[in-house]
Symmetry: C2
Subunit: 217 residues, 2 copies
């Protein structure tokens, strides 16, 4: 029974890695669409989001089937519950990538944010993409160091998020109200994306170390 | 076994109702703090959020214990999984109430939004509070009509969310960048709060058809 469980959980893990890969691809395209006003890429991200949604629903069904058939207890049970939670966070990360792409599409052919903020958003986007790519690795290898790395990168995203507000609320800000709205929303999306990654990293840490992390993201 | 399961699931339901009650109280205080610049109320919401977090963690532990001890299958299993998901959404709604309170505290003694938007936010806040209160009733009674009602109220919140952007991006908007940032964030929080309620309502709809309601109630 335990062996079947292990086998089925490998299947769950493979699918989590696959979905995280789709999310990494989406955030990469979304941030490029955002920074380079590439409406084709934006459309791709928006069109692909249902694939991520569908993949998470399929994964959830598999996890529920494992619960029903294998009746796991103790640590095994918590692993399956963690997988369901990781799936929910990945689904939200896909939504956020879509939101970023929608901002890009909405402003096309203009850029979403004025010149003075482009460097900040380029860096935030780069960090989100890197975080998503490390998340794929983390789900594959369960290397604890990657979880720490993701947390550190999230701190950098948070700092940039504050920087956006400093610029928008600073004396030199010349943006119109629409620039301010876009910058506010975009910054919040970038920040939330990284938050979800940290929340997943905590759960993977649990899977690797046995330290149960409550859902506090 | 089934009887024990029913009993334990009543306990889960009671706790969901209790947490939804805490969330309703929080959003009521948070929106009053926001609309009336009441920093004492804002502080209360911020201080109370860990209670909601703690209550959801305790509930999750109970649900996981039920999974381990009762080994539910089929519909029963889906009911427990739904409870875990509802718990996660309630936890997020508590976070959002805290975010709204934090905006109020940050701007105190000023109001968060300029005069021209106060009516819109008062109405959004009223809807969010009503949605949270209906959610408590829905979790208590599983009355399908309440789920529909919540969905309709969410449509109204979405319309007001768009109205905020129309005003902020309109010709008559005289707000400073900080007003624009605050209005954008606040509107997004109000809208997400209602979204989570709809997501819960959908799950309760399932629970209602999942034979969760005790026969003797």
């Amino acid at each position: 029974m335990r062996e079947v469980f292990q086998q089925e959980m490998r299947e769950v893990q493979d699918r989590l890695v696959e979905i995280a890969g789709l999310v990494a691809e989406s955030i990469d395209k979304a941030t490029r669409a955002f920074n380079e006003s590439d409406v084709t890429l934006a459309e791709e991200v928006i069109a692909d989001d249902p694939r991520i949604d569908h993949a998470t629903i399929t994964l959830d069904e598999l996890a529920i089937t494992i619960l029903a058939r294998q009746q796991p207890v103790a640590r095994d049970l918590r692993i399956v519950v963690s997988a369901l939670r990781i799936s929910a966070s990945l689904e939200r990360m896909g939504d956020i990538a879509r939101h970023i792409a929608q901002l890009a599409r909405y402003r096309f052919p203009d850029k979403v944010v004025p010149k003075s903020l482009r460097g900040t958003f380029a860096e935030m986007g780069r960090l989100d993409v890197e975080i998503a790519q490390r998340l794929v690795e983390l789900l594959t290898t369960e290397d604890v160091k990657l979880a720490e790395y993701i947390r550190d990168e999230d701190d950098k995203v948070d700092a940039l998020h504050l920087q956006v507000f400093d610029k928008v609320l600073g004396e030199t800000w010349k943006g119109e109200a629409s620039d301010t709205v876009d910058a506010t929303l975009a910054s919040r999306y970038h920040e939330r994306f990284a938050d979800h990654a940290v929340s997943i990293a905590k759960k993977v840490l649990y899977l690797a170390t046995g330290d149960w992390a409550p859902d506090d993201a």
